[in-house]
Every structure is written in C-alpha cells, then in structure tokens.
C-alpha cells in the first residue's frame, strides 16, 4: 500500500495553439484526487504566443509539480516525444504517463482510476470511452480491447490514455512526420507491434473538447493516404498471419462443437490451441452478440464433429484449406456436410452443391454460418432446419468429400452425429431465457466499433481476399513459404517444386503447398513430408489465359475473370512465395511483394507450339519480371535465356535438377555391382519412359527401333508411358511399338517402380524435341542406366557425352534416328564402353543432390527475416525469445 501511495504518475501535455485553454487543462490535472504523486509535464511546441510563456511560468512557479519544457515546433508527435524523453530522463521513477491535450480536461478521479486499472490489468495502456463537450459527441469503444479492430478498423484509443512507462522504455514513440494526421493511431500500432495491448476502462472518462473543426477531422479528409502510411509503416501488423493471430485470440472465426463433449472449441487457426467455452457460455455469447455486437463476440461459423474426425483432419495437413472451402460453401448454401475418405495414394477436396430436398448420407462434419442460425431462430424455422438430421434435407446443402491417407492407428467412431450436436445447440439457443431480452442494448453510449462477429469480413476487405487463410504466426517464429503448382501429379515440374519445398522446410521454413487449379494431388512418398500444409483451390483459377500479350506471348492481366479474392485470401502474408508455373498468380505478385512477401518464380522449360514458336511459362513470367525478387531455373541455359529478356543474373538461381527419388545404400551397392559385372552378350536393354507424344520424340523412337530391328541388333525394348488415344487405333503409338516387339506398359509413378525399370535397362532413350532439364536423366544415372538423349534444352548440362551418357546432336529427325540407331548398335557390341558409361553415370549421380543444387537459393532465402509483431509472455511479461522483460501484460 505504501509503495502504491508513492508511485509517480506523469501527466504529459503537449501544447500548441491552446494558450487560452491550457489553464483549464492544468487546473483539472492539478485537481486530480490520487494517492499517487503527480508530475505535470507541459511540452510547449514552439507556440508563438507569449501568453503561453506567461501562463506556464506562473503555474510552474506556483506549483512545483508542474514542469514546463519549451521546444521548437515539431508537431504533436514531436512535442509528445519531448515530454516522454523528459519524463524518462528527469522523472525516472514514473510508473505511467497520462497524455492530456492542452484543450482537454480530466475529471478528478480520472488519473487515479486509470492507474489502478493499469496496475491491475498489467496492460500496456488503459483507455476510456470518449465524451466530448462544446460539440457533444460520445462513443462506446467496446468492453474488451481488440488489436484486430485497432489495426483494421479505426483508432479506438484516444491519446488521453494511461500508458505504462514500459511502453516508452521499449522504445515506442510518436511519429513526428506531420504529414501523417493519425500520429495517435500510429503510436498505438507501434505499441502493438512491440507486443503491448490496451485495456478499456469504463469507470472514468476525460473531457474531450470538440470544436466544429479539428485536427482529427482534417486528418480524416485524407484518410486513404493516412491509412496507406500506417500500413506501410507497420507492415508486420497488417499481414495475414499477424491479423489472423489477433483474430484467433480476440474474435475467433469458428466455433466447433465436439460431439458428445458438451464443449465448443473457438479458434481461427486450427493449428493453434483453441479456446473452449461451455454450452451455457455459448448461448450467452450468441445472444450477447445479437444485442451488443460491439461488446460480445460469437464466431460467425459453427462446425460440429467428433474428436476423432478432428484428429484425422488435423493430421491430414488439409484443415486450414478445408476451412476455407467450408467458409465459401457456407456462403453459397445453407449447410455443408463433410465426408472423410481414406485414400492411400491421393489427397483431394471435392464438393457438389445440392438443392433443397436432397437426400444426404451420414456426415463426419457439419458446417453452417451463424447468420443462418440466427435467421432460423428469428423466422421460427427450426423444423425446416431440423431436417439436416434426417434423410431428406430441406435447407440447400453442399457435400464435400475430403480424401487423404488415414494414419494406420485404429479409428474410434463417434456415436453422436454432428448434425444432432448442431441441432442441440440451435435448440438451446432458441429456448434460452436470454432470447426475449437480447434486443435491448444496455450500453448507453452509441456503438463505435464494428460488430465483432463481422470482423472476418473486415479482415477480408483489409487483405483484399476471401476467404482469408486461417493460419497465424506460430511459435518460433518460423518463416513461412508457399510453393505454388498448377497441378500435383507425377510431372517433373511439380517434383522439382516439392524438392524446393523440402529444402526450405529443412532450412527452417514452415512450408505450404498450394495446388491452384486442381482439387487433388497424388501422394509421392519421396516428398510427402516436404510441406506442413497442403491447399487445393480449383474453381476460378485457369491454367492458362490470354487477356494480355507480352512480346506476342499470352499473360493474364488484372482484369482477367478469375477468383482473385480466393487467390489473394490464400496467398497473402507469406514470407516467401515460390511460384512454380501458376500463371494466374503472376498478377498478384506485385501486391504481395509490396505487402512484404519475397517472391520467387520457378521456371523449367521453354515450350514450343506445333509451328515451333517458342512459348510457355517463361514468357508469362517475364512479363511480371519486376514483381519477382528471384527466379529459379533448372539450367544455366534457361538462366541465360531469362537474362536475355532483361532478368538480371543476380536475381536468377540456376538449380540443377537431381533425382526425384532417392535410393538406399543397399540398392545402390547392388546396382553398382550389377553394372560392373555386366550382362555379357545378352541383348541390350533399351528403356523409354515418358508420354508417348511428339515432344518426347516418340516418332523418332519408333524410327530408331525399326532400324535396329531391320539391322538385327540384339535388343530388348520397353516403353513405359501413356498417350492420348485418337479414334483410329492403328495410329496409336502403343500399337505401333508393340508391332516392333516393344514391351509397352502404362506409366508408373512410385519411386520403386521407376527404379526397377531403370535398374533393368542398360540405356534410357530420350529422343525429345524439346526439354528443360529432365529429372529422368539424373534418375537413370543414379541407377547406372546410361542416358542417351537429344541435346535439347539443358540436357547438355546433365550429360557429358561419352562420360556419363550419350548426347545426340539436335538435327533433322531422320539424322537423329540414324545416329541413335548407330550408337546403340555400337554399344550393343562394345559392352566395355557401355560399362564405362554406366560407371560414369553412377559417379555423376553420386555428386548430385538437391541440397547442393538449392544451396545458393537457400542462402538467399535465409536473408528473409520473419515479419511478425513481438509476442510477449502473459505470465512473465517477457518478450518471447528476448532478453528484455517489461513487466506488462502481453499477448499470448
């Protein structure tokens, strides 16, 4: 008690232009009733009126607690900062600072009440509602403090607040740029960025003098420019992870009823610990948010499922993405039913919208918007809604099927249907005694804040995306990387993207794979753990578009009709994005980059049209060159090519491809032994793996095999791959190859199957017309299978002719066919050369690795600093992972 009685509070009063009013401010401060010691620091901001000097010197002479500092005009921020610095230096024992503008007044209890609350709450600052006089206006600023509202809605704390001295000791100051009219808002954002939070106090107020014209009014006239300034200055706060983190703690987007447990989890980020509320509390929150939406929050979406379902979804790494789909669907129809499927080899999220009256099977999870529940109650439509628990569902619905490999552990099935759990909540809400009184607002000051339950919409507007990916900053803080691919099958381009993801993850990034334009992906064991989260977004994202042309090449413009909101909602806020051939994402990159994301574009191959015009992804990307911080290519050749189009070398990382699968030491040893031993004079084994199409030179392969057969060269040939069949079966390459005794088999994707084929073969034949840097070469070399490939694309960077493979010069088709047939015939006889080439291939493969290939890019990525506001530990007030330990309440 004695300590408290001796606490020193400083009242800081900037002064400019209020010579005639400052007496009132001073007198009101001097009339404060407090057990603490008070010091009043008036910071005169170069006010040219000498009256100020006379007034203040008189006051200072009569009241020793009044300190006056004169300074040159520096604007409101500068004047306040001078006061702060004075307090820190001259009144170092001060515990808190209360800012009182020279034209305002405090009530006798204001300082004492606010300081008591500051001490009890351990917040960074305590603020009041605002009541103005002269021009009467008042506003209620909410029963709880929200950083989310403070960042994206409006300034909810006047400078007339009691601020812990720790805030200033942590370095928070006012912005002194007078062009920014929101220096007070900017100050609070700085405090939030340093990990401090506010605390409302409705038990006192100060008297805010409002005249017909004010600085606040003036600043609001140029609000967009001021807002833009705030966003630029506090990028870390305005990014998706920070805002979603605030949302998670302050206005969680989802309520999840765990069937049979009588509790609701409330959360936004499903990977962070959720809050928990009982049914009773949920009912209170629901009706509270109806009557006083600025004071009480109820999540805008409600889900119901069993704990086992939740566990499975959490392990699927698809849960954040699933929630995005559910949000979108719940806004298109009344109810969403989710069905989980165990699929060993793929992950997918597929859905269909069903009309009213559709018949539904059992669901594992049910999802609705809270708005629908409110309408059901208001319209007495409980019977209509209850049909979700029966076979025929009268609300419109969507059925979403999510497939992924379930863990091997046995599943415990819930005995309570999620629909029933949801209906129980709705019944409890409908019959609650709170329902009749819910329409009365008890808080008498007019509402100033947006509805807490609508904050998710404000968040969408702020980020320009919808829905907003519900992923916040995680403890760490780990940097985040998103890898974008247009599809996720077994193609080389996506395997390389996975490899990039794996390298980033191994180097400390939290990795997200976005499959944009497809709702499924195949499971590749080799890269299955490369990503922490997987996301699919199919609708509204075209694989190609030509709304603009750059050097005669197609690119997608901002005006292109696609789901921009969906894309931006998913992609905003990452520390790094690696765009791997998602054409639709290029136009977003400049926006994401200006918001703080580092952008990289991964390119693999220059394609050709049927008329041999160079085309493809590199051109669509070069059109957006300035929007990317880095380019990754699979070859030095492509690097030079990009440079020729104006991409600086310093921005390009050539990443030589490595094998898309690894083999264990035992298999490697076996293969090496076998290759050394050779197979005597047995027929030479030729392997072709790839699409049976023109790009891959299937016609050349056919011609070569025909010549070898004609010449009687002893070979066994195998072709692994698929083709697009035409109506005429006789034109099928499969048929034609089989006629040459080629063993034709459908494509294989599993690493062990590819390895088995490569281990079988002596030579991998690749007569492609164009290529990037095919993974297959590295994979063949890894197994001692000698690649024989046309020298197109960056093949020359992977094969040293005569050492670890054979290069066939790019020429007319007939010449290539002859050259390949001649080489194979030679090697069929010269098994020693073949053995040497196989050993060379093995040696090359031994030196090749993804880690080595990505090393430069990873080094560049390591320069990316995570942009996150400081988090403080609630219990100790310590900054997480930092030595400074201000003793104020903090953010979890």
């Amino acid at each position: 008690m004695r300590d408290e009685a001796q606490d020193l509070i400083a009242i800081a009063m900037p002064l400019y232009g209020h010579a005639a009013l400052v007496i009132e401010a001073l007198e009101s401060a001097l009339a404060s009733v407090s057990a603490c010691r008070l010091a009043i620091v008036v910071s005169v901001d170069g006010d040219p009126h000498h009256e100020v000097f006379d007034q203040l010197t008189l006051h200072a002479a009569a009241h020793p607690e009044v300190h006056v500092i004169f300074g040159e005009n520096a604007g409101p921020g500068g004047a306040r900062n001078r006061a702060i610095d004075y307090i820190l230096e001259e009144l170092p024992e001060a515990k808190a600072v209360y800012f009182l503008d020279a034209d305002n007044r405090v009530l006798p209890d204001t300082v004492e009440t606010l300081y008591r609350r500051l001490k009890a709450s351990e917040a960074g600052w305590v603020y009041t509602n605002i009541d103005t006089f002269s021009v009467n206006w008042r506003a209620h600023y909410g029963d709880s403090y929200s950083r989310l509202i403070h960042c994206i809605s409006d300034n909810i704390c006047d400078t007339g607040s009691m601020i812990s001295i720790d805030v200033f000791r942590a370095g928070v100051r006012f912005e002194e740029d007078r062009q920014n009219g929101f220096e007070d808002w900017e100050f609070w954002l700085s405090a939030i960025e340093k990990g401090f939070v506010g605390e409302p106090c409705h038990d006192t107020a100060f008297e805010y003098r409002l005249r017909a014209e004010s600085r606040f009014k003036e600043a609001n006239r140029d609000r967009p420019a001021a807002m833009s300034f705030l966003r630029r200055r506090h990028k870390a706060l305005f990014r998706r992870p920070a805002l979603v983190g605030f949302e998670h703690e302050e206005a969680p987007r989802y309520a999840l009823i765990r069937t049979g447990e009588g509790m609701l989890d409330v959360f936004t980020d499903p990977t962070l610990p959720a809050g928990q509320i009982g049914f009773d509390e949920a009912v209170r929150a629901f009706w509270g948010h109806v009557g006083e939406p600025d004071n009480v929050h109820f999540p805008p979406f409600i889900a119901a499922c069993g704990s086992e379902t939740l566990k499975l979804l959490a392990r699927s790494r698809l849960l954040p993405n699933l929630l995005c789909h559910l949000e979108t669907l719940a806004e298109r129809c009344n109810v969403v039913f989710v069905e989980l499927c165990n699929a060993v080899s793929q992950r997918s999220i597929e859905w269909e919208i069903l009309p009213s009256g559709a018949r539904q099977g059992a669901a594992d999870l049910t999802f609705v918007s809270t708005g629908l529940i409110r309408n059901v109650i208001d319209d007495d439509a409980l019977d209509w809604f209850s049909s979700i628990g029966r076979d025929q569902t009268w609300p419109t619905s969507a059925r979403l099927k999510i497939s992924f490999p379930f863990p091997k552990a046995p599943q415990r099935r819930s005995l309570i249907r999620p629909e029933q759990a949801l209906l129980n909540l709705v019944s409890a809400l409908t019959t609650s005694p709170l329902r009749p009184t819910a329409s009365t607002r008890w808080t008498w000051r007019p509402r100033r804040l947006p509805a807490l339950s609508e904050l998710y919409k404000l968040l969408r507007t702020e980020l320009g995306g919808s829905p907003v990916l519900p992923v916040a900053h995680h403890a760490g803080p780990r940097r985040t990387a998103a890898v974008l691919v247009p599809n996720a099958s077994f193609g080389g381009a996506e395997k390389v993207a996975y490899a990039a993801g794996r390298e980033l993850r191994q180097n400390g990034f939290e990795t997200h794979l976005f499959v944009l334009g497809s709702e499924r992906m195949d499971v590749l064991d080799e890269f299955d753990q490369a990503f922490d989260h997987l996301h699919f977004w199919k609708d509204g994202i075209p694989a190609w578009g030509g709304s603009g042309q750059f050097l005669g090449q197609d690119f997608i413009t901002d005006e292109h009709p696609l789901d921009w909101a969906g894309l931006k909602g998913l992609l905003s806020g990452f520390d790094l994005i690696v765009n791997n051939h998602v054409m639709a994402a290029h136009p977003l990159m400049a926006q994401l980059r200006s918001a703080g994301t580092r952008t990289a574009c991964y390119l693999h191959v220059v394609d050709e049209t049927a008329l041999r015009r160079p085309a493809g992804q590199p051109y669509a990307a070069i059109a957006f060159e300035h929007a990317y911080d880095a380019f990754l290519t699979c070859s030095e050749q492509l690097k030079s090519y990009l440079h020729s189009f104006g991409v600086p070398f310093g921005k390009i990382f050539a990443v030589p491809n490595a094998a898309s699968f690894s083999i264990d030491a035992k298999l490697r040893a076996q293969v090496s032994e076998a290759r050394k031993a050779g197979r005597g004079n047995e027929p030479l084994r030729l392997l072709y793996m790839g699409r049976l199409d023109r790009q891959k030179g299937i016609d050349r392969l056919h011609g070569m095999l025909a010549q070898l057969k004609e010449r009687g060269v002893p070979i066994e040939a195998r072709a692994i791959g698929g083709e697009i069949l035409s109506d005429d079966p006789s034109s099928s390459w499969m048929t034609r190859l089989r006629s040459l005794d080629v063993d034709v088999a459908p494509p294989v994707f599993a690493a062990k199957d590819i390895a088995a084929h490569l281990a079988w073969a002596d030579i991998l034949v690749m007569p492609s017309r164009w290529e990037g840097a095919p993974l297959m070469i590295a994979e063949a070399q890894q197994l001692g299978c000698v690649p024989m490939a046309t020298a197109v694309g960056a093949v020359e960077e992977l094969v040293v002719d005569g050492e670890d493979g054979v290069l066939i010069g790019n020429a007319a088709d007939a010449r290539i066919v002859v050259e390949m047939a001649r080489t194979i015939a030679t090697l069929a006889q010269d098994r020693a050369t073949l053995g040497r080439l196989a050993e060379g291939a093995l040696a090359t493969a031994a030196e090749r690795s993804w880690s080595a290939s990505f090393a430069d890019f990873i080094a560049w990525s390591d320069t990316i600093a995570p942009t996150a506001p400081i988090q403080r530990n609630i219990a100790s007030g310590e900054r997480a992972g930092d030595e400074a330990a201000p003793s104020v309440r903090a953010v979890a």
Partner: protein, 448 residues
C-alpha cells in the same frame, strides 16, 4: 521591471552580457519565449542591485505567482459553469420552441421477473449494497423507479438509496426511506434536479439498515455483465440479472402518473463523492467502558459480543452507560447510523444515543456535560436520546450539518428510561457511516 516579467537577463560584466545576448538569440527559435531584456549591473552598485534582484525573485514574484494560480483556479471553475449554463439554456430554449412540456417521460424500462428459485436479496441489502448501472445516459434523467415484490410485515428499518456518476464519482442524491413508506410494485425516486452537463453513467446503490428489508425485484437475465446488478458478495439471484428498473426524464419532482408514490431525496449530495462504510469488527472489539455512574454492577455493562458483532451497552438505573470506540470516525463523515435492540423479552425500556468526540477532548467530561444537561462544545456531536423498548429494534440516524473535519471517537450511550433496568440488555450493532469527500487530499510533490 516593467515589460520584463517574468524573465530578465542580469549581467554583471560586459562579457557576461555578450554571452547572455548570444544565448538568448538561440532561444528565439522557441517561439513561445518573449524577448528577454538584459540588464547590465554596474560595478559600482553591484551589491545593491543584486540584492534588489534577489528581493524581486524571492518576494514579489512568488506572491504574484500564488495570486495568479488562485485566479486561474477560479477562472477554470467559471468557464466550466458557463459551459453548463450554455448547454442548459439551449436545452430550455429547444424545449420552449418545441412546446415540449411533458412533465415526465419513461426512457427505459425493464420489468420484474419473479423466479421461484430466487433466494431474495434481503440479507445482501443488510450486509452490503446492491449496485446497478443505468443503461441510459444521465442527460435529463429526473427520476427512476425500482420494483419491490414483497414487504415483510412488522419490520422496521430504512432503505438507503444513493445515486452518483460513475465516471467522476460525484454524488447526486441520497434517499433514506423507512420500510413502511415503501409499497409493493414500483416505487418512484425523484432527483433533486434533472441531470445536466455531460452525459455520464448513473450508478444506483441500495442497501438497508434495520430488520428484514422489502424484497427488491430483479429483472430477466441479460447478456451484459456490466449492467447486471452487482454486489461485493456473491449471490445466486444476481447471476446476470439487473434490478427491475424504470428510468424517467422530465421535470424533477413530477411523479409518473401510473406510479403510486414519490420519494424525494433526503440529502442532496451534488458534486461530492460519497463513501459509505461500515465499522469493521476489529475496531468494535476495542470498545472501552467510559460510563459515568455511581453504580458499580457486578456484571460488565459494556462489552463486545463476538458472535453478533454488537456492542452491549446495558443502561444503569443512575448515570449514563458509555462505550467508546477510539479513532473510528474518519474526516468527512456526515452521517452515522446504527441499529439497537433490547434483547430480552422482559427487558425494561431505556434510551440510547451516539456521540462523536474529538480525539483531544476528554470523553468523560463530555458525558458529564450531557448528564448535567449542559451544552456540549461545538466540536462534539450528539445524536439525541432515542427511546427503546424490549424486542423492538430501532434505527439511530445521526446526520451532521457539517461533515467532520478530523478523526473522532465514537461513543455509544444508554441510560434508563424508568426506575428499573432489569434485563435491559441493550445491543447496538450495524454501524454504518457515510463520508463526503470534497477536497483533494494533500499530495506529495514529485521530486520535492
């Protein structure tokens, strides 16, 4: 010194004068400072001139500063009053133009909800107070009504109702309503004047002194905890429920036609802070016998009853029985109330009273003056004698015209009313004091 106040540069040498001029030139960048004249003291008269400067700085300037500070305080008050007058004038003018002469309008109403499970608030009202915030702005509020659902028969006591502003803590009015004045249903409390000035939050506090008080009605359950009725002690009935409450604007004193009664304030507190406190048991335990009687009974006439938190003050057939509790009445106390009872069915009647005595005074001498019928010094306050009969509890209410300015002793007094004091086991309990705070406490000066 004309034109130089309050700053003057004083130089005792040419070099000093030059240096001072240069420094003052740099200071001109700070626009607020007037031009500061420099006076060059001449060598010859240096000692006397310097003395003059010291005199001016230490004497006249200080006095002038203090005088101006007082004037400024007064000015600030006047400006605030002018604002209120302007606002009120405009409101009156608006009402005049609009012919808006409704005597009273209901601006908020929340009806009673009788839950069969309710335990009742009676005990709570006696032990502590119930606090209810008004869910409307204070502006123009002229009265309110609370609902009573049951009035126990044959109970005496008072409901103590106070209204103040939350944000400033300023009191508005206090009502002391005897139980028998209260009716079942709505009871209207009229404010001394309609609330004006800045709209603020009104806070209603209700407590009771005496026997079982009337049962206040609660309303329906609501979601906003801040506006639910609150008490310092947990109570099952108060779970997120406000008092049944109606709030009115209009002419102060005008009773809404549908309501049966109107209570005007017992005390207009306007502007002062009110603190209502009860004497803690540990202080009562220290009661000392300061009786003035020739009789020395074989039993203790003054003592503290542990189980009942009451002071026994058994009258004697001659003289005055007195129990003093030292240093318990805080400065600013304006009212003391307590309850007394003769706790025996055959107890003979007596009289009871309370006295406040300054710490410096001799208590026995004051009692002696009282016994002799002499007038008490103006620094001592006496409640007067109240008659009391067996098993009929009474309330002693002791209102001071001017709140006490210093800490005082509380003395409980009793004397016989008839020839006999047999079984007159007089107990005084439930001491409740109301303090008005008007002046700022003296604060330490920072860095002083």
């Amino acid at each position: 010194m004309r034109g130089t106040f309050p700053l003057i540069g004083v130089a005792a040498s040419d070099a000093g004068s030059k240096a001072l001029q240069a420094a003052l030139k740099r200071l001109r960048k700070i626009g607020s400072l007037p031009d500061v004249p420099v006076i060059r003291l001449q060598e010859a008269a240096l000692a006397s001139d310097a003395e003059l400067v010291v005199q001016v700085l230490e004497g006249g300037l200080g006095r002038l500063s203090r005088h101006m500070a007082g004037a400024n305080t007064e000015l600030a008050t006047l400006r605030r009053e002018r604002e209120t007058l302007f606002e009120n004038y405009r409101a009156l003018e608006n009402a005049f133009h609009a012919r808006n002469w409704d005597t009273v309008s209901e601006v908020f109403g929340h009806g009673p909800f009788i839950d069969p499970k309710d335990q009742g608030l009676a005990a709570l009202l006696r032990e502590t107070e119930i606090v209810q915030l008004f869910p409307v702005s204070s502006y123009a509020v002229s009265g309110f009504a609370v609902h009573v659902r049951d009035i126990p028969a044959d109970e005496t006591g008072q409901l103590v109702v106070t209204l103040d502003y939350v944000e400033s803590g300023e009191g508005i009015a206090e009502w002391l309503i005897p139980y028998d004045s209260i009716t079942e249903g709505w009871n209207f409390f009229s404010l001394p004047k309609a609330c004006d000035g800045s709209p603020r939050t009104l806070r209603l506090k209700i407590s009771a002194t005496g026997g079982l008080p009337p049962e206040l009605s609660l309303g329906h359950v609501i979601t906003n905890e801040r506006y639910a009725a609150q008490a310092r002690m947990p109570h099952a009935d108060l779970d997120m429920r406000p008092l049944a409450l109606r709030i009115f604007t209009g002419l102060p004193g005008a009773r809404p036609t549908a309501l049966p009664n109107v209570f005007t304030p017992s005390t207009v507190i306007s502007g002062r802070k009110v603190e209502d406190y009860r004497l803690p048991v540990e202080l009562l335990r220290a009661v000392a016998n300061v009786s003035l009687s020739p009789i020395e009974p074989s039993f203790p006439t003054v003592r503290f009853l542990e189980l009942e938190d009451a002071i026994v003050c058994h009258p004697l057939s001659e003289g005055i029985t007195a129990g003093a509790v030292r240093r318990v009445v805080a400065p600013g106390t304006a009212r003391i109330s307590a309850r007394a009872v003769i706790d025996h069915p055959e107890g003979k009647p007596g009289t009871v009273g309370l006295m406040l005595v300054p710490l410096s005074a001799d208590i026995r001498k004051q009692i002696e003056a009282l016994a002799d019928g002499r007038s008490l010094p103006p620094t001592t306050f006496f409640s007067g004698w109240t008659e009391i009969t067996a098993e009929q509890p009474i309330d002693i209410n002791f209102m001071l015209e001017i709140p006490t300015s210093r800490t005082m002793d509380l003395v409980v007094l009793s004397k016989a009313a008839t020839n006999s004091v047999d079984f007159a086991w007089l107990k005084v309990f439930n001491f409740r004091l109301v303090k008005y705070l008007e002046k700022s406490p003296v604060r330490e000066v920072a860095n002083a």
